[in-house]
């Protein structure tokens, strides 16, 4: 009896498997073009912006046929996953995402590997050199020079009082993003030049983690995203670099040097529905969200 029921169970399992498989294929042929889900992947800095824009988009239209009559009556399904700028580019190359989010310049080499490469610029983000508000550095020194930053991040200055004698004799805690990430690449290019970033750094897995660490550790210094700093105003202190304050204006006109573009990129397989969404992202409304989340909007 036991064996019989066991066999019966197996049968059910197999049948359900078979049914499950066949279900995953579209069951009914729609006369109109089905849209399916749209996947965004990439930069963790950009992800909240895209999430907000697509959320507004979803709330406004709910189903695709509301957007345009040519589309099928389907719920708008948009998935947004992080993974870093590199993953954004990667996913567009291998087609695992429809749209890639990138918060650094896309290299020419990468552009070549993507067929029908197209990028849409949402705005600019800056990496502000930020410290904990308990750190008195901004009272002692108004600005850090590139040279000083180099010495701090390469590990030449180990204690804060080496930078300025008035500061406490406490170890400088360096915080960076992962060395393969977009932010780190930008920082290395704009500040470090040929010198290497010290190995004695805490590598934060996301921009959020980096900022949290600076908020919690009074000796920490790191390159926090301008947008995230604005989201945590008062809890974290951005410093001037070479006398230039990281303000929207300075970032826009390029006088604040550690900045990076916020991009969404696609390959040649852009469907009509995706195009609608992309247009929405770079529309006035979209750029407003970019500004609301603390970044500098603009194409």
């Amino acid at each position: 009896m036991k064996r019989l029921s066991m066999i019966f169970l197996m049968m059910i399992l197999i049948v359900s498997l078979a049914v499950g498989c066949s279900n995953s294929e579209p069951t009914k042929a729609e006369a109109k073009e089905p849209v399916g889900k749209i996947v965004f992947k990439g930069s963790s800095t950009l992800a909240p912006v895209i999430t907000q824009i697509t959320k507004d988009f979803k709330e406004k239209y709910k189903t695709w046929d509301q957007v345009n009559e040519n589309f099928a009556n389907e719920d708008i399904e948009i998935f947004i996953t992080g993974g870093g700028s590199g993953a954004g580019v990667k996913s567009v190359i291998d087609g695992s995402a429809n749209v890639g989010m990138v918060s650094r310049p896309v290299t020419e080499e990468e552009q070549k590997t993507i067929e029908g490469y197209k990028e849409y610029k949402l705005g600019t983000d800056a990496l502000t050199i930020s410290v904990n508000p308990e750190n008195k550095i901004y009272e002692v020194k108004d600005t850090l020079t590139t040279e000083e930053l180099k010495k701090i991040f390469s590990g030449e200055y180990k204690y804060w009082d080496e930078l300025d004698a008035k500061l406490a004799h406490e170890e400088i805690v360096l915080i960076t993003r992962d060395i393969g990430g977009g932010a780190h690449k930008v920082f290395e290019e704009k500040i470090m030049g040929d010198s290497k970033v010290s190995e004695n750094v805490i590598q934060a897995p996301s921009m959020g983690a980096l900022v949290t660490k600076i908020i919690e550790n009074k000796n920490a210094i790191g390159y926090a995203s301008y947008g995230v700093v604005n989201q945590n105003e008062g809890k974290i202190m951005p410093l001037k670099v070479d006398g230039v304050e990281p303000t929207a204006e300075n970032i826009k006109n390029g006088s604040y040097i550690i900045s990076r573009p916020l991009l969404v990129i696609t390959n040649k397989d852009v469907t009509e529905s995706e195009q609608v969404l992309l247009d929405q992202i770079v529309s006035e409304e979209g750029l407003k969200v970019v500004e609301e989340l603390g970044f500098v909007p603009g194409k």
Binding site: I7, G86, E171, I179, G180, I202, Q203, E216
Partner: protein, 308 residues
């Protein structure tokens, strides 16, 4: 009458035949399913090998494993993961050192000291600990352990090998307890009445009968705990600081799983960075295999006294 009995006999034979066929089918099905899982493992190994071998065209295997310096995206990439290998071992062995006495103690308590009712209450709670997602552990580690180091012990930064080890010890504790406890219960059931009949005290029995006999069970829990610890990614990554330095107890470090998780997202496909990350995964797998094989032989050598 004779006709009837013949047909009944035939029917029964037919029935037996059907069962035989079903049995056969079931056997094939089981074989097929188990083959798939074996093949999966084989494919994973092949894939990782294929992706990582390209690394060794750039750097020699020896340099990769025994040199320090991790700058995979600079002009002249440096690829040496010795600090990561050492950190991985350091963190998991230290965690095991913390968790093993606690775990063995708790399993003695669970198997020999408490009554059935309390045991049935405590055991599921400990098992539940294994089900808590590692991100949650990592978060707790960040808020409690790292903060404690920074505030109370005035570390410049609380992220350290020690913090990771403490956190990891808590995470592998339920595995150690349940493996040890299982073998101890078995031993206890087998010898309890004999031991009692001889008039031996409970503590004497634990010291001279249960602990020595449970050696194999404890060893199994060590292997399980070590493998778990070396593979743990998220929680360790959140509290260790991820610096490619040689491990020091109060210093920052980076484990191999942490390295892969942190950088895989940013590595562009088919770059040397990407292949090097696969290669470090290969090294981790090799380390785990070596440890498992090593313990297998130790277990074999450990002699005839077993709990079975």
């Amino acid at each position: 009458m004779p006709e009837g009995s013949t047909s009944g006999f035939l029917r029964r034979r037919e029935k037996v035949n059907i069962y035989k066929i079903i049995d056969k089918l079931f056997l094939y099905l089981i074989r097929f399913v188990s083959m798939i899982s074996v093949l999966l493992l084989v494919f994973i190994v092949i894939f990782i090998l294929k992706e990582s071998l390209l690394t060794f065209e750039e750097v020699s295997f020896y340099d990769f494993v025994f040199k320090k310096g991790w700058r995979p995206i600079s002009e002249n990439p440096e690829l040496g993961i010795l600090p990561m290998i050492l950190s991985t071992l350091y963190v998991s062995i230290l965690a095991l050192g913390i968790a093993l006495p606690l775990g063995v103690g708790s399993s003695i308590f669970l198997s020999c000291m408490v009554n059935e009712k309390n045991r049935n209450f405590i055991k599921p709670i400990i098992d539940l600990m294994a089900g808590i997602p590692s991100v949650v552990y990592g978060f707790m580690g960040l808020l409690l352990i790292v903060k404690f180091f920074e505030r109370k012990l005035s570390f410049s930064s609380g992220e350290s090998i020690l913090a990771a080890s403490i956190l990891l010890a808590i995470m592998i504790l339920p595995y150690i307890i349940s493996t040890c406890d299982e073998s101890m219960i078995k031993i206890l059931k087998k010898y309890e009445s004999t031991s009692k009949a001889l008039g031996v005290s409970k503590y004497h029995m634990i010291r001279y009968l249960i602990l020595p006999t449970a050696k194999k069970g404890i060893l199994a829990s060590v292997v399980l705990g070590l493998s778990r610890g070396m593979g743990e990614t998220m929680a360790v990554m959140m509290v260790i600081g991820n610096s490619p330095l040689y491990p020091k107890l109060f210093g920052k470090g980076q484990t191999i799983p942490g390295l892969i998780a942190l950088e895989m997202g940013g590595a562009s496909v088919n770059s040397i960075h990407y292949h090097a990350l696969f290669a470090s995964g290969l090294i981790l797998m090799m380390m785990l295999m070596i440890i498992n094989v090593l313990f297998y032989f130790i277990r074999k050598m450990m002699g005839t006294v077993s709990e079975e």
